[in-house]
Amino acid sequence: RPEPRNSDSFDFANYHPINEIYAFQDMLVAENPNLVSKIVIGQSYQGRDLNVLKFSTGGTNRPAIWIDTGIHSREWVTQASGTWFAKKIVTEYGRDPALTAILDKMDIFLEIVTNPDGYYYTHNSNRMWRKTRKPNSGSNCVGVDPNRNWDAGFGGPGASGNPCSETYRGPRAHSESEVKSIVDFVKSHRNFKAFISIHSYSQMLLYPYGYTRTPVKDQAELHSLAKKAITDLASLYGTRYRYGSIINTIYQASGGTIDWTYNQGIKYSYTFELRDTGRYGFVLPANQIIPTAKETWLALMAIMDHTFKNPY
């Protein structure tokens, strides 16, 4: 594939292997040294860098918003949307008054390939791979579900103890370096105000909890913000989303990302499940990448704007 000369000529309307996404990240940093930097928060099991793009206009340890995509590697539309979000932030800063106001006071951190070993594996060995790629001692089956490995209700119902299961929780909480690296980064930063983890598919916007029926103390606010976000999302193409707490809207899931982040005090913790509801599942055609990213961006802006205007 001819190397794009700059991030403007990157082909956002197609899926890309990991090396091309990593090259795009470096290009974006090189082109925008006063806005974008790359932080390597750790390595995956197989030694790939865990890259986080930091969008900042200055200050020190400003209140921050986290967005991650691709924690389940086969959910390709999420990594592709994350790449588009990165470019959108750079393009809109200084143009979009809402985003400019946010970035003048807050930082945005974006991890596009949150499960790089799994993502590489989907391109080269098994397109349907979801988990990490760390072998499990005592089993022929490989990998842990990185969205069941967090220290939030870990080990409870809603995850499997069987290494061969797609929802295998792992031998202990934070056993996966892909998870532990985010945990350590969030704990050391100590000033995240929103945490958005993006999955596909089934078109839902979810907030904690997944491991317990106990409502979060901020349920009313998170519910009304979710409603606003999915209304903005639907305004573009009419894509319909359901919303609510994880346990009430889909099923019980223990060890989940946003349950942990919420319990760390990050109030605006959400999980997206992007397109599709229709015919494609995880094999969403590339021609739906940009429409999906554009509509999701409207929901992200609703959440980021609310976070900015409601400091805590």
């Binding site: 197609n14 899926y15 060995s125 797609e166 089934s202 094999v283 055609p285 590339a286």
Partner: protein, 93 residues
């Protein structure tokens, strides 16, 4: 490289809670090697399951035997993946 010739993705819709439990019970039938793309949530939400070719007939008989409605969301997964791959290659060119 793992390929998926003949794998189908079935979209299963439970009529009631009883059928939902029967669908959930499929999760424990490891011999079918099912891959739940969309897990069991509630009666109003369809369940999508990737079924390997070798299990297709057994699974369909199992569902029909319990009067559980399903449709074929993806006829041949590998054909879709081949198309996705072609698109990536042609975009690269």
């Amino acid at each position: 490289k793992e390929t998926f010739e003949g794998h189908q993705v079935l979209r299963i819709v439970a009529k009631d809670e009883g059928q939902l439990s029967l669908i959930k019970a499929l999760e424990d039938m490891s011999e079918f090697e099912l891959d739940f793309w969309r897990g069991v949530t509630d009666v109003s939400t369809p369940v999508d399951i990737r079924v390997p070719f070798h299990s297709l007939q057994s699974v369909k008989i199992h569902l029909e035997g319990q009067d559980i409605e399903y449709s074929v969301m993806i006829e041949d997964l590998q054909a879709m993946l081949d198309k996705e791959q072609e698109e990536m290659v042609s975009a690269a060119r």
